[in-house]
């Protein structure tokens, strides 16, 4: 276990140390102490390492992550896991607005609640929230899965494309062109896999699926240039 203490080193030095880890590094386990809400912690990682942040983080923790597993033992500020490509990020506490925004891949697990705009414009990332999510979540979501074990706020899935949204609790309101859809066996299988990987003890059968009605002007071929 390597320890990086943010009371002793600058953010840039810490991130450069993590960036220097190669595909076949022997130093696979890292711990970051004294994060104190700093911005951009463990951003841009690209190695199969495990990083544990001992405390709460500020803006953009784990942004652009590839391969790495990042555990946040606290809550995360805005834009956690933004544009994640692969790997796993697990947050013990809550996540602020636009968690997992534009993410292309990997798994983001939020054990508390997520704020507004969770999964906005997601492009393939899987997001599992153990608690609730705020308004305008999955706005213009393109692909990937958003699983919510609690409730969803206003305007869920507004203007979404092919992303799948699974909500166990209530949905305050659906956004434009977002509708409830039938839950087929292949969806239950996707859900079962995600819930297991996210350590959530909910049953797939308890969820409803939401998706795009494909009625907005963007889906009409006559509007193509």
């Amino acid at each position: 276990m390597q320890t990086l203490d943010m009371a002793d080193i600058e953010l840039r030095e810490m991130n450069e140390t993590l960036h220097a880890q190669a595909e076949n590094t022997n130093q696979t386990s890292w711990e970051i102490v004294n994060p104190k809400g700093a911005h951009a912690i463990a951003c841009g990682l690209d190695a199969p390492i495990e990083v544990t942040v001992k405390g709460s983080t500020g803006y953009y923790c784990g942004g652009m992550n590839k391969q790495a597993t990042i555990n946040i033992e606290g809550s995360a500020g805005p834009g956690v896991a933004e544009n994640m490509m692969s790997g796993t990020i697990v947050i013990d506490g809550d996540a602020s607005q636009y968690a997992g925004a534009t993410g292309h891949g990997g798994l983001l697990v939020i054990k508390g609640n997520a704020s507004s705009r969770c999964g906005i414009s997601m492009k393939g990332i899987d997001i599992v929230v153990h608690g609730n999510i705020g308004h305008m979540s999955a706005f213009m979501a393109q692909t990937g899965n958003l699983v919510v074990c609690g409730d969803a706020g206003d305007a869920l899935g507004d203007s979404l494309y092919e992303a799948r949204l699974f909500v166990r609790g209530s949905v305050k309101s659906l956004g434009a062109d977002c509708i409830e859809k039938e839950m087929r066996p292949e969806h239950l299988a996707i859900l079962a896999d995600l819930l297991e990987r996210a350590g959530a003890d909910a049953k797939p059968e308890e969820f409803k699926r939401y998706g795009s009605a494909r009625e907005l002007y963007t889906f009409k071929i006559d509007n193509a240039y």
């Binding site: 500020g58 500020g77 809550d94 602020s96 507004s116 705020g134 305008m136």
Partner: protein, 308 residues
């Protein structure tokens, strides 16, 4: 961008540390806005007096003999404490309206920062650490306070464009965001006879609350109606004689984090601002909901009013 902080003390033993805790919180928020900074401190040090804080760009000449000149005009004793560009004028309770009117008579160049029984506002162009040092904020004690560091968008970087804005007696407002209907609202409020000094959007927000309250609304009601009448982005923190309130617009893209322990309720634009508070590790930390008015008061039980 802008950074906001607020601290409401439940535990009286922390009161001597209010200025230093608030200064530390605000300095941490410096990179959210380097243009100007301001702090509002509420302290109960003069029960039978009211306070007007004035600012001058030439304090050596303007503050010389200001207390006696003002005292002559209002026919009551006035005491004065000067710090850098600001002077705190203490007048007998009840003489505050007279004194406020008389200040522009005595010296029209003076700018009024705040008025009230317990409120003092200190604000200037510059970084939080410099503004706080200039007014020796760290030495101040009090029951609650709010602070702001500004990244200017809607109007010029001046002392009068700095936050907090004083609304009514003992009331003030800080804002992160931008109001897009401030020009039309300013015209409307001016027609209603409300005095608005600058081209700043937040001052219009503050004047709007004043106007609502002049028409009988409580601060809570004024904040709730602001959700309908103000167009734009805002996270507001308001200070009152007894406590402070928080409201965010329904879109809520301007950040806000709150923490509560047995000793205090704290507000920060980011969690970073709260990390040095005592006992933060065990505090309840959460984000205030959009379009929801929150209040903490020394006078009443804490309330959370859900807006329509």
């Amino acid at each position: 961008m802008c950074g906001i902080v607020g601290l409401f003390l439940k535990d009286k033993t922390l009161e001597p540390q209010l200025g230093s805790l608030l200064t530390k919180m605000l300095v941490t928020m410096t990179d959210r806005g380097p243009d100007s900074a301001g702090i509002a401190i509420y302290s109960n040090d003069s029960m039978d007096k009211s306070k007007i804080v004035v600012q001058s760009d030439t304090p050596e000449t303007d503050f010389d003999g200001l207390d006696s000149a003002l005292g002559q005009v209002i026919g009551a004793p006035v005491s004065m404490k000067t710090t850098s560009t600001h002077a705190v004028l203490s007048v007998p309770h009840g003489a505050i309206e007279n004194a406020r009117a008389a200040i522009s008579q005595v010296n029209p160049a003076l700018r009024i920062m705040s008025r009230g029984d317990t409120l003092e506002i200190y604000k200037e162009v510059g970084l939080p650490k410099d503004v706080a040092a200039r007014f020796e904020i760290e030495q101040m004690s009090g029951s609650h306070g709010i602070g702001h560091t500004r990244m200017a968008t809607e109007s010029a970087v001046t002392t009068m464009g700095a936050h907090p804005f004083n609304t009514g007696d003992d009331q003030c407002l800080v804002h992160n965001g931008s109001l897009s209907n401030h020009a039309s609202l300013r015209r409307k409020l001016r027609r209603e006879g409300i005095h608005i000094e600058t081209e700043n959007d937040t001052e219009v927000g503050a004047a709007y609350l004043t106007w609502q309250m002049q028409n009988g609304a409580t601060l809570g009601e004024a904040l709730e109606s602001s959700l309908d009448d103000l167009d734009g982005f805002f996270t507001f923190v308001v200070g009152t004689k007894d406590g402070f309130g928080v409201v965010r617009d329904p879109i809520a893209c301007k950040p806000a984090v709150m923490a509560e322990t047995d000793q205090y309720v704290a507000f920060g634009s980011e969690y970073r601002a709260l990390v040095d508070l005592p006992g933060i590790e065990d505090a309840r930390v959460w984000e205030p909901e959009p379009a929801t008015v929150y209040f903490w008061s020394h006078a009443d039980q804490p309330t959370k009013e859900k807006a329509a």
